[in-house]
Symmetry: C2
Subunit: 243 residues, 2 copies
């Protein structure tokens, strides 16, 4: 099995996804929100690129979520803070979501056979799911404004480490994946402090979202894996196991 980690969504080429399982990572904060929202009972996330698309697509009862320049979009129900995606707010709802980097990374991955939304919060669950799907894996760090973001690299490193621990045969990992795995091994026991020192972590703190950084730096607290089905992210339901 081959695992290729891509440093930034702008580095990803659509054709590299064909036939593979893609793990999209935007730790601060889009994919952290998706797993948090779906774990809190939200039915689905509909990722769209523009604010206008979000307004056009959303139907009665849907919620509008997302950000521009880290802040809630005027007229939207929810911003891009996982702390907003509580059961009270999202249970049973469909959320139409647009964020600067995360939703773009999901869109870019659509030629993959499977697209999973991964974060530190559900890294191990994503590793298991990707292994079960049995295909080569491409891990896309969303990044920020076409630059590598360390928090996404740490998420990728966490996934590579988990896959290596779970796989029956040693996976082949590209150079960037080896680098990110070593970063995770270096920083894995101080994720919160490290995320606070990243470019995005500092920007979020300045804007008053420090608690989001703390929330998103927790490792493997969710078993849920969001998967893209017909353009919409829903919980991955594992195939039933017959005993």
């Amino acid at each position: 099995m081959q695992i290729d980690v891509i440093s930034c969504v702008s580095e990803a080429r659509s054709d590299d996804f064909v036939g593979k399982t893609a793990l999209v990572i935007d730790v601060l904060r889009a994919t952290s929100n998706m797993v948090t929202g779906l774990s809190a009972g939200c039915r689905a996330f509909v990722p769209v690129e523009t604010v206008q698309q979000a307004k056009q697509i959303h139907a009665a009862g849907d919620l509008l979520g997302g950000e521009r320049s880290c802040n809630k979009i005027p007229g939207f129900h929810l911003g891009n803070s996982p702390l907003e995606y509580t059961r009270d707010a999202v249970d049973g709802k469909r959320i139409v979501m647009t964020t600067t980097n995360g939703t773009r990374a999901v869109q870019k991955s659509q030629k993959a056979q499977h697209v999973l939304a991964c974060s530190l919060l559900n890294a191990r669950a994503c590793a298991k799911a990707a292994l079960d799907l049995g295909r080569d894996i491409i891990v896309v760090c969303a990044g920020t404004q076409d630059q590598f973001a360390l928090e996404d690299g740490l998420g990728a490193g966490a996934v590579v480490k988990e896959i290596r621990g779970l796989a029956k045969t040693e996976p082949q990992v590209n150079d960037f994946g080896i680098a990110m795995e070593s970063c995770f091994l270096q920083f894995g026991d101080m994720l919160q402090e490290t995320l606070q020192q990243t470019a995005t972590g500092k920007r979020l703190a300045k804007l008053g979202y420090s608690n989001d950084v703390g929330f998103c730096s927790r490792l493997n607290i969710f078993e849920l894996v969001p998967v893209l089905k017909e353009g919409v992210l829903v919980p991955l339901v594992p195939a039933p196991t017959y005993r």
Copy 2:
């Protein structure tokens, strides 16, 4: 002082270099060759992009050096192996050089105020020189075929670590630089084994260049820093210190 590390030459934007000191890193093998050759008494390296340019530019007494697909170019005097750049072979000579990634990275950096050729072999010397030059620093990992190469990332990590140790005030380092520094801290005491496991390391071993990988994985064995002067790489002569 700001230090930005760029993952791959194709990621570098010419305008990002303006006013800065650029450190170009192609550990396997172009910048390792340059420091080795200049340390062995070669007068200068003339980096050019194409084989034809190399043939046109070289004058009587010059040597032609470089590679395509890792191998020596037909009709050239030298390949891309630092073990060929001995005093017997290069002393007093000018070498016109073309390689796939390294010379391209030097060309791409030309808008910088200063361009230094950096490798593991002279990482500390480059860190000192860059600090002395007193400008913001951009470190360009050359990469291989538009992909990140771990050996270049380790070179960048070594430089960031050295600068952090030498600088009087804490430098600001971009996310990618922090990641590479942590990689270096992880792998720094097993550089040879790590370089053998990289994509380029494996390819070179298959082609019979394992000894080059061993040679290029040695840390801080040279004090010499190649600097670009009027399009040609020559030894950096530090300004005299008056006591």
